[in-house]
Symmetry: C3
Subunit: 344 residues, 3 copies
């Protein structure tokens, strides 16, 4: 068996038609060892391609033995634990990083992200909205929305609360994994598929979409839209906004470099380089016309924010006396001209 892209043994939820609603992988693997792949393939009946294969309890026992024999004791112990499951089990094996075609595949890829095994944009999620079903996430687990009405009434009559906390294609990340070294003050605002670097704190007003997140230490009190990556040491102020490719950012993929600060209630619609600041309350879109200032505070020229995409050491502010949006730099007028017009 050649090396695979990813393998996961999961426990999940199915609706009344035995369709998968979601799958939890306690230990998703990226590029697992050949020994492990061979063991899983043998026990699950896997041959090739990207497949999600149901596992019966007796297969699990065989799998644990195979893993033990292959020297994968830790994974063998995990699989042994799973033998007592009251929920359906699945072995998902991905030969290659192709777009997901089933719920177990999509959930494995989202969990690769949140386990920090891949970074945003590194795993192919094309078409994931079409693959994932809408689910009612409740205190009694994942429920198919079409089966919800009866469950809600029954719970009520029995004096229980069936709390529907989310109705969405994506669940909250922390019910699948809490990566090490993070704080998340309000977990409902971090979707499965978010990538949080060690040392990241997401405050109550913070938000992280799937296929997006931080790579290192960050204080996040604003919104990280789908596809946006925030660099080491950068902070997002309370209520600030990053434009996502799903919601109006167009083709321009937004990213924030290292040691940037976006002020409270501000926003950004261009990629930023390192050590950039946007003042509180200012929203910079790609089309914002602004005055570019040199290190002496002289206006060098007027340009659009998109012309400054990816550049470092910029301070964006609105002059509070003239109303002009300004971009203050630490470079001379000559250096700025060269930088901006190098490819003209």
């Amino acid at each position: 068996m050649t090396r695979l892209y990813s393998v996961g043994i999961g426990v999940g939820t199915q609706n009344g038609k035995e369709e998968w609603l979601e799958v939890f992988y306690p230990k998703p693997l990226l590029n697992p060892s050949e020994a492990l792949v061979n063991a899983v393939a043998k026990a699950s009946g896997y041959h090739k391609g990207n497949q999600a294969l149901p596992l019966a309890s007796e297969q699990l026992k065989a799998l644990a033995n195979e893993l033990e024999g292959a020297g994968e004791s830790e994974y063998a112990a995990l699989v042994s634990t799973m033998q007592g499951s009251k929920r359906p089990l699945v072995a998902t094996l991905l030969a290659s990083n192709e777009a997901p075609t089933s719920v177990p595949e999509a959930y494995l890829k989202l969990q690769l992200l949140s386990h920090r095994l891949v970074k945003p944009h590194e795993t192919n999620l094309t078409g994931i909205f079409g693959v994932l079903p809408n689910v009612a996430w409740t205190n009694e687990g994942a429920i198919d929305p079409t089966e919800l009405v009866q469950r809600q009434l029954q719970a009520r009559l029995e004096g229980r609360v069936l709390s529907v906390d989310c109705v969405d294609k994506f669940p909250k990340m922390t019910n699948y994994v809490v990566p090490s070294g993070v704080r998340i003050a309000h977990t409902a605002r971090v979707r499965l598929g978010a990538h949080l670097g060690e040392g990241t704190t997401i405050m109550h007003e913070g938000f992280v979409n799937f296929n997006a997140g931080t790579v290192g230490k960050s204080m996040i009190e604003g919104r990280i839209s789908a596809g946006v990556i925030v660099g080491e040491g950068s902070d997002l102020g309370g209520g600030c906004s990053t434009m996502g490719t799903l919601s109006g950012g167009g083709n321009l993929i937004i990213s924030i470099g290292k040691e940037c600060l976006i002020g409270a209630n501000g926003g950004v619609g261009i990629p930023l380089g390192d050590r950039c600041t946007i003042e509180a309350g200012l929203y910079i879109t790609a089309g914002t016309k602004l005055a570019l200032l040199d290190d002496q505070n002289n206006v060098v020229e007027h340009c659009k924010a998109r012309d400054l995409a990816g550049k470092s050491d910029l301070l964006f502010r609105r002059n509070s006396l003239t109303g002009t949006v300004e971009c203050k730099t630490n470079r001379s007028a000559i250096a700025l001209n060269e930088e901006l017009h190098a490819h003209n």
Copy 2:
């Protein structure tokens, strides 16, 4: 029996004084059939007016029979299911759309809204804040705040968590109904009494108050205040604000027409017509003075935003070089003058 405005058979929660805290109606009805009304009236002892009548278990059996006899099999089956209830039951019959005078009446009206049986402003909610009690909404159900302390301590000592998720007159909608064809990423931000059109997605940063909402397909990442209606195809960007009549909007009822876009972190304090855009980060209040631009980008005149209330095809932006708030139109100067001064 004449036709009634609304009928609901509900199961609810009472405090230690047997006062209603809330009522769940699995299937609220607007203008129900005479046959159904007669059956409910007979079983519950209803004569006239707007009434909430307690139902004992034996009445429920009689009611199921009456409904079956009246050809209302579906409702009969529902009522049969409710016979096993461990919680108090109620029959609420509203002869007319008057202001609610009791908890069961108010909850019936809020559920008419969230079940899409009426649109915002169509049911009379006058004085609802005075009718609804403040409730602690917990994982163990609705609790009177005055009875909470003892319950919290008892749960703690027994090693359970009594989680108090909301202390408010309005519960979250999804514990009563999840309308078809919606996604709600974080349900704590949609109050019972919200009206969500088929195809609406409420993202994590979205919010919908009662007696407010969408009528069709919308992507809502901002806040829909009490009383505000958002038209088909309109989107609210992340963190944007609509002024509600409860919170400073005054008498002007805010509504958003079709195919509008309010940008992220923007805001609006006037009603918008169709196809209007407010750029990200810009807040338009009724008193905002602005430069009105014709289709050639010439300034036609200066006016206040309230003068443009309800008009279509407007783009609001702040000129990022001059700081002037501008309203760009697709009409000629002559057409604009006629439109604005038609009633002078």
Copy 3:
């Protein structure tokens, strides 16, 4: 025994190493009576200083008797109730208001705040981030993050949901106390250690950090950062921001006086006096240059917002035609000059 600063009898959670994760005090006391202190000291073996002493069940019985004998019947009854606890108990006695040195001490101080026994800044919380452990707050109680993985898997296999609602050093306030006369639409956004005045409503978009809050009646739809106090009758509009000392406000402690209004999506980085208004969408930082207008709308001078720190009867707005941030006053030019330059 001299008078103590504070006493609490609590029930809490420990991790597998018997380290405290959190402590719930049903009735924390500030400056308790000598009789009560003597009873608690005798039963718990307290001698002096700030201490957290574990209580066994038999000590609790003795304590209840001591309290009864000391005429503290109400507290005796409370302690009697706690005898049946399945969770570890603790007596925390603070001789003085020093910085907390243990989890039980820190939790007692946070609960003094939320019980309105002290106001923000009145109890010493120096170094509290170092004292508090990071905790996974779940529907099955507080869990040490290092023990979470096994618990999550086990719950899954058994068909239960272990919902991780928060991963943070601070839990939500309402699982400890719901002060009288408040509404909190979404409790996940109010940290333990918040101080909410009677008559305060925290809407869904509102947020209150620890050591911060309101002192009276307020409608809070914006964010109260750590250390910020909002005066009687002041309202915070939807999504508005107050700068905290933890997040960029520097040394300047932000406070909001009486009857102020910060408009929706606005923000403030200076202390405000009474009856001040910041218009919707405007962010005032300490460094914002602005035009100061007298009662006749004439520009008196240009200054920075920090020069107006703590002054009353100010209206901050951005002139929507010129882009200039203005501060409109109700005073004459002469009075303003005297006020601003009194200490020059």
